[in-house]
């Protein structure tokens, strides 16, 4: 219904549809505006800015929740078998008596926490914030559009996400607890988990996980279609493809990744639901024996098929996580180094190449399945190829800093911290790309450290940078600078204390799914700075808990600044892109004057200008035109 209702281009139904349909570019902002009630305005809104903020708040809450699960697990890893002080008494009342009897975590609960940490962080935290929240709020503003192309589809996307999120949360409270088979839900383990007398045949952790996923996927698909259409159709006059801010490019590619990668997983999830609920054997092999008894199934399925389908989503998903962060960091670097982004065209093409290559690298997650050396050689090659465009982008970012007059405000701190953190994450991935090295490192803490360097101090720092950067646009006020720095420095230090030792633990052979933190296993016995692989768990855990505390200044700052932050003008960062021509916060329909773009996105420090930034909607003057003929082409963008 939503799709059918929002495709109409004539908004004659004045009571409901006034202003929801974006006028064609050039016809001005939403003219006559019918005031909506509180519920329609803030809860069931179709305005891209409100939906973006809703996504952002929900995503941040989920991020913190997912992080809290990990903080619980870190206790078990550092002090296995000991009762958790204070909280240990109360948690059984929340999650049920069997999860933490006497404050000691059971292995089932540990597995639940692990699986749900991954799921929540990726699909309910980072994707909603990076793609849906920033994409929704910033992209239409940056391209000078009054709203998304399909506002109702946009709302449907958010509410599908809401339903999916609620189902995932509810799964903690069904008998037996949430899904326990890892965030990848590998078969046949996932197909036989959570079954038996103690579990409901349908309302059990793993099945609810699958059902919740269907909603999350549908939400992403609706969002992706909307983004692609909006970016193609609703760009302001004069905003050609090569004048798009880099952030819009990254969102565009991300939307394609979601659109093409998610449907195979959705199909696979339906098949796994059938395996669990209707006892089919899509992913179950012939002769499967569980606890010494052969299963009464037809067999003939392939567990590896699930892995292929999962990682066909899973790998593009990695780029869904990182590309928006690239975009945010690019905007902030150019803005705060007061220089055009170096190599704009080459990084745009690099992003497109990443988008393409990310579909042909998925099996490097499956070296241990014994796919055969031919297949491995292919995926090894593509995996190494994809590092080339990533390195081009990162190098371009570093070169952009060269010779700039850099302002170290809070967004810039996070953005610059992103660069070395992503660099560490990326470079440590190269050994994993090689089949032979990965056979040893696979499923150890090394790989945990590798991908967390990408997504935690990488993507999440990018997201924090974006929140500090666009906060004035959303509220008209700026977040407190001092408390921003109090948030930044402990976070940066703790991130590294958490994840650097994990590389060492992994190389000592510590497996990522050990419930006792490696206490009961003999590792290679080497000590690093006097601590064995297991003993490193406790400094890591303490750093994780301190990092949890370090988020408190951010949370307080975020809400306090809505009412009490310093008031700023429409363009506090003196930026060039179109979103800063709109009022802060932008009204319904966004722009007072429909913007027209006359130049590229990063015209900072243009010679012969009074100000060191030239906004995209400033017409090119006659004198400038003659000078441009001789000027460097990079200024034209």
């Amino acid at each position: 219904m939503d799709a059918s209702a929002s495709l109409e281009t004539h908004g004659q139904d004045r009571h409901q549809h006034e202003g929801e349909h974006p006028p064609s570019p050039g016809s001005g902002a939403a003219g006559e505006h019918h005031e909506l009630g509180w519920w329609r305005k803030y809860i069931f809104s179709t305005d891209h800015k409100v939906i973006g903020i809703q996504y952002g708040l929900c995503g941040l809450v989920f991020l913190f929740f997912g992080f809290s699960l990990m903080m619980l697990m870190r206790w078990q890893l550092a002090y296995p078998g000991q009762a958790l002080p204070v909280l240990g008494k109360w948690l059984p009342y929340v999650f049920g008596p069997n999860t933490m009897p006497d404050g000691k975590m059971t292995s089932e609960f540990y597995n639940s926490l692990g699986a749900m940490h991954g799921t929540i962080m990726i699909f309910m935290g980072v994707v909603p914030v990076a793609f849906a929240a920033f994409g929704n709020f910033v992209v239409p503003l940056q391209i000078g559009a009054p709203d998304m192309t399909f506002p109702k589809v946009n709302a449907a996307s958010f509410w599908a996400f809401g339903v999916g999120g609620i189902i995932m949360l509810v799964s903690f409270f069904v008998p037996g607890g949430a899904a326990k088979s890892g965030w990848t839900s590998y078969t046949p383990l996932a197909a036989i988990a959570d079954k038996g007398d103690a579990y409901h045949p349908f309302f059990n952790g793993t099945t609810l996980w699958l059902v919740g996923f269907i909603f999350l996927i549908s939400s992403s698909l609706l969002g992706a279609i909307n983004f692609i259409t909006t970016i193609i159709q609703l760009r302001a006059k004069g905003l050609t493809w090569m004048r798009l801010p880099f952030f819009v490019w990254t969102q565009f590619v991300t939307a394609f990744l979601l659109l093409l990668a998610f449907p195979p997983l959705e199909a696979a999830i339906v098949m796994q639901i059938m395996d669990r609920v209707a006892a089919t054997s899509f992913f179950l092999p012939t002769g499967l024996v569980v606890n010494g008894a052969a299963l009464h199934i037809s067999g003939g399925g392939s567990p590896i098929l699930w892995q292929h389908l999962f990682w066909f989503l899973g790998h593009p998903e990695v780029y869904v996580l990182i590309l928006p962060a690239f975009g945010i960091v690019a905007e902030i670097l150019a803005n705060n180094s007061r220089k055009p982004l170096w190599g704009y065209k080459s990084i745009v093409f690099s992003v497109l190449v990443i988008g393409f290559l990310s579909f042909v690298v998925w099996a490097h997650h499956m070296w241990l399945t014994g796919m055969g050396s031919t297949v491995s050689a292919f995926f090894q090659t593509t995996t190494l190829l994809i590092s080339i465009p990533s390195v081009i982008i990162l190098s371009a970012f570093f070169i952009s800093l060269w010779g700039g007059s850099i302002r170290f405000n809070v967004p810039m701190l996070f953005a610059t911290a992103f660069l070395p953190m992503f660099g560490i994450g990326g470079l440590t991935g190269i050994p994993l790309a090689f089949n032979s090295a990965d056979l040893y490192l696979h499923d150890t803490y090394y790989i945990i450290a590798h991908f967390h360097y990408i997504v935690a101090p990488g993507t999440i720092f990018g997201l924090f940078a974006g929140i500090y950067y666009w906060y004035p646009k959303a509220t008209g006020r700026i977040m407190n600078e001092f408390w921003g720095k109090v948030h930044f420095w402990p976070s940066l230090i703790c991130m590294n204390v958490i994840f650097l030792p994990m590389f060492l633990q992994g190389m000592l052979g510590m497996h990522r799914r050990w419930y006792d933190g490696g206490q009961g296993w003999t590792l290679s016995g080497e000590h690093i700075w006097g601590l064995s692989g297991f003993q490193w768990n406790s400094p890591i855990s303490w750093a994780a808990w301190i990092m949890g505390l370090a988020q408190i200044p951010f949370i307080i700052n975020f809400f306090w600044s809505i009412k009490h932050g310093k008031k700023v003008n429409d363009n506090p960062w003196e930026a060039t892109t179109l979103e800063w021509t709109a009022p802060s916060p932008p009204p319904h329909g966004n722009f007072i004057v429909t913007p027209v773009a006359y130049r590229g996105p990063y015209e900072y420090s243009l010679p012969g200008r009074e100000r060191d930034f030239t906004m995209q909607n400033e017409p090119v003057e006659a004198t400038e035109r003659t000078r441009r003929k001789t000027a460097e082409p990079v200024l034209v963008g």
């Binding site: 219904m1 799709a3 059918s4 209702a5 495709l7 109409e8 281009t9 004539h10 004659q12 139904d13 339906v270 098949m271 059938m274 209707a278 006892a279 089919t280 054997s281 899509f282 009464h296 199934i297 037809s298 003939g300 399925g301």
Partner: protein, 221 residues
């Protein structure tokens, strides 16, 4: 056929003939409902009522009378491993004390050497009166024709089930567009309603197109 009527409904709206639209829409809805009824009342229960037992390899000889594998080998056909039909003692599925299944054999197992049985039939052929007895000890796996029975039924129920849910969704949307609320919208803004019907119709065509692939895959091959 309902794809045609939905286009006619849309065309009627474009020509501002609400009455004709209403009838064409009704026809579309009825087509959808008939499709779902056939599926849920006739086709699926027929499968659920059907029984099949896979015979262990070492016992295949013993049931040569039902399987006709010598005949199959002569004809170059793959060996038959399954005996199917109507299960007369249904409690045998759950009661461990019952040692054998009594099956009203399917024609292919009742008369396995008949050349007419070499290929599967397109139209449903009911089980015969001939009773076959299969000892449980000789059976590898035996279930009713549920998704768990075999890879074929797993795919069949998954795909037709998903397709049926899409049909149901389309029918619900059409019903909404056919109810008196649509008349209100029509009087207010007929083009708005026409566009809604157009988009819903596109969805309907998509579901129809999927069926064009599903039907030969599961019913003809």
């Amino acid at each position: 056929m309902s794809s045609v009527t939905v286009v006619l409904a849309w065309a009627a709206l474009k020509m501002r003939k609400y009455r004709a639209y209403w009838w064409y829409m009704l026809a579309t809805i009825l087509c959808g409902v008939i499709f779902l009824t056939v599926k849920l009342v006739y086709e699926w229960p027929q499968k659920f009522e059907h029984f099949g037992a896979y015979i262990k390899p070492e016992a295949l000889e013993k049931y040569e009378l039902y399987l006709g594998n010598k005949h199959a080998a002569e004809k170059g056909l793959p060996p038959r491993l399954e005996i199917s039909g109507h299960l007369h003692n249904r409690q045998a599925l759950t009661d461990p004390n019952i040692k054998e299944y009594e099956v009203g054999l399917d024609p292919v197992n009742a008369d396995p050497t008949n050349p007419a049985m070499d290929r599967p039939h397109f139209f449903y052929v009911p089980p015969t009166e001939k009773i076959g007895k299969i000892e449980k000890a000789d059976v590898e796996r035996a279930t009713m024709f549920l998704p768990t029975h075999s890879a074929y039924f797993a795919s069949y129920f998954t795909i037709t089930g998903l397709h049926g849910m899409h049909v149901l969704g389309g029918v619900l949307v059409f019903i909404y567009m056919w109810l008196p609320v649509s008349k209100k919208l029509y009087q207010h803004n007929p083009e708005h309603l026409a566009n809604r019907v157009e988009v819903a119709g596109l969805f309907w065509h998509f579901v129809d197109l999927v069926w064009i692939f599903v039907f030969p895959l599961f019913y003809l091959l």
